[in-house]
């Protein structure tokens, strides 16, 4: 097994780069980062819209969240693959096709995390800000969202782990990422699937486990800093929101 890693570590790390497209574990991480970063603004919009008292705002947002929750991520990938290039009117690389799918899918799940974060804040926060003369949007941007996002940080890191795992499905549309690199390796070596898939699984485990642990650490820190300030501030993450894709 070690010898496979020794002979092919560049393929597993960066794919064909620099002779060809970037791939491997580096591409996997970049995909997850790009997906999370681009999904974030949409997620905040969706979350705020979901909490809006106006039906014509919260109803469409709720519909989007529920439709996305009802679709397998693979289906979202295929839609992104067929429809996105047509929608934007030009061909898309595999990388951006997958990012598009991640943004659509994750916006809904992240929105639920952020919404839970907002709902967990004591109502006093909003009332205080409003009584200071802040308008709705200023209250939201300067008082509510910063606290809600801070409290949701562990859940957000957890979601980043989900994104990393989701990128593996890019394999079915031949996106250059880690699972695809391993499948290329598997087709080269052909008869050593046990070793190749073990390398694949172990590497994912190390990366994701490290992140999960750091999420736990952050969670404890936040709990500690929050303690005493206001008891009962424990964020109640909506169980529906976490871990969309094991």
């Amino acid at each position: 097994m070690l010898e496979i890693v020794q002979n092919n570590w560049t393929l597993l790390l960066v794919g064909q780069y620099p002779a060809g497209p970037l791939g491997g574990i580096v591409a996997t991480l970049l995909l997850a980062i790009a997906g999370l970063a681009l999904a974030f603004p949409f997620a905040i919009l969706l979350a705020v819209a979901r909490l809006s008292p106006y039906r014509w705002v919260n109803w469409p947002a709720t519909a989007v969240v529920n439709i996305v929750r009802g679709m397998p991520f693979l289906m979202v990938i295929f839609w992104s693959y067929f429809a996105l290039p047509i929608l934007i009117g030009r061909p898309l690389s595999g990388f951006w096709t997958l990012v598009g799918a991640l943004v659509l899918y994750e916006s809904a799940y992240l929105a639920e995390i952020i919404r839970a974060g907002i709902q967990a804040l004591p109502r006093g926060q909003e009332e205080a800000a409003r009584s200071l003369g802040f308008g709705y949007f200023r209250t939201l941007t300067f008082v509510i969202l910063p606290q809600a996002l801070y409290n949701s940080l562990p859940a957000l890191i957890g979601q980043f782990v989900s994104l990393i795992k989701e990128t593996s499905l890019g394999y079915v549309i031949s996106v250059n990422e880690f699972t695809y690199a391993a499948s290329q390796l598997n087709s080269q070596l052909l008869v050593r699937p046990v070793e190749v898939f073990s390398i694949l699984a172990i590497t994912y485990f190390i990366v994701c486990f490290a992140l999960t642990q750091s999420a736990r650490w952050v969670e404890q820190r936040i709990a500690r800093t929050r303690q005493g300030k206001s008891s009962g501030m424990q964020i109640q993450t909506n169980p529906l929101a976490t871990e969309p894709m094991p």
């Binding site: 393929l11 064909q16 499948s183 008869v191």
Partner: protein
């Protein structure tokens, strides 16, 4: 649901105007690159060279020759077997060089150049298994790459067999090597490398399931580009350059030991099912 239908309507509107706009030949020249879709996992046609990690092979050399004649750079884009036609139709690639056998259904979607390979599709079984004719596999389990023409031949020739399709040819082969299926259908040429690599014994069911003509695929209604590619193929045939490329990847010096059994300027034609030997 509503928003999705709406976006689809938009998509449909763009689809109708987007693809048929400019002349593709001009586009390629203006862009300065020919984007060539290849499988990337099919030795010796296109595969990653373990040393350089670059994609090389017979398909790549042909694409390079076409790009050279156009005076542009060649860029190889890896695609899966089943994505070949969608990627082409949607304009993500200019040309497919990826073991693309001619079938009438496919010819409704895309145009074919003249032949660039003629392949025999055969059933591969494990040595020592009881299967020795096509019909003996009538109710067996057969693996194939997803979206391949081989898959269709099995359905036509052995409608009762249960077919398992996989992401790429090596995965389909692995299923056979691990005895998860009784047979695999593939072009004779692709099998050679698999067999050489495993060290296990396999054999072919002697009668081929189909003989098929492979062409390069281009988008429909791109006459100028199609003509240009055919001119290159004709030039390769006449100058002997094509034979040199063939020999480099498939000739006597290689494990395949073939001599070129076709001409680059013959038009592709319908596959022959159960061809006589």
């Amino acid at each position: 649901m509503k928003t999705k239908l709406l976006s689809l309507a938009v998509a449909a509107a763009i689809l109708s105007t987007g693809t048929a706009s400019a002349d593709q030949l001009e586009d390629i020249k203006a862009r300065g690159t020919l984007i060539c879709g290849t499988l990337g996992t099919a030795e010796p046609f296109s595969f990653a060279d373990p040393q350089t990690r670059q994609i090389v092979g017979y398909d790549i050399d042909l694409c390079q020759a076409i790009a050279d004649d156009l005076g542009v750079k060649m860029e190889a884009k890896p695609i899966s077997v089943e994505a070949r036609i969608p990627e082409l139709v949607q304009g993500r690639i200019d040309i497919v060089a990826g073991n693309l056998g001619y079938t009438p259904e496919r010819a409704e979607q895309i145009d074919y150049t003249t032949s660039y390979f003629v392949s025999l599709q055969k059933l591969l079984v494990k040595e020592g298994s009881a299967f020795d004719t096509i019909d003996s596999l009538a109710e067996s389990r057969i693996s194939a790459p997803k979206g391949s023409s081989s898959e269709r031949y099995v359905r036509e020739v052995l409608p009762q067999a249960s077919l398992l399709t996989f992401q790429d040819p090596p995965s389909a082969f692995l299923a056979l090597a691990q005895s998860k299926v009784d047979a695999m259908i593939l072009s004779e040429i692709n099998a050679e490398k698999f067999i050489a690599q495993t060290g296990e014994s396999f054999r072919f069911v002697e009668q081929p399931v189909a003989e098929e003509y492979w062409g390069l695929g281009v988008r429909k209604n791109e006459e100028a580009f199609l003509q240009q590619v055919n001119v290159t193929l004709k030039r390769l045939e006449d100058s002997g350059e094509g034979e040199a490329i063939f020999d480099k990847w498939l000739g006597q010096e290689t494990v395949y030991k073939l001599s070129k059994p076709f001409k680059f300027d013959t038009p592709v034609s319908d596959p022959v099912l159960r061809p006589a030997l």
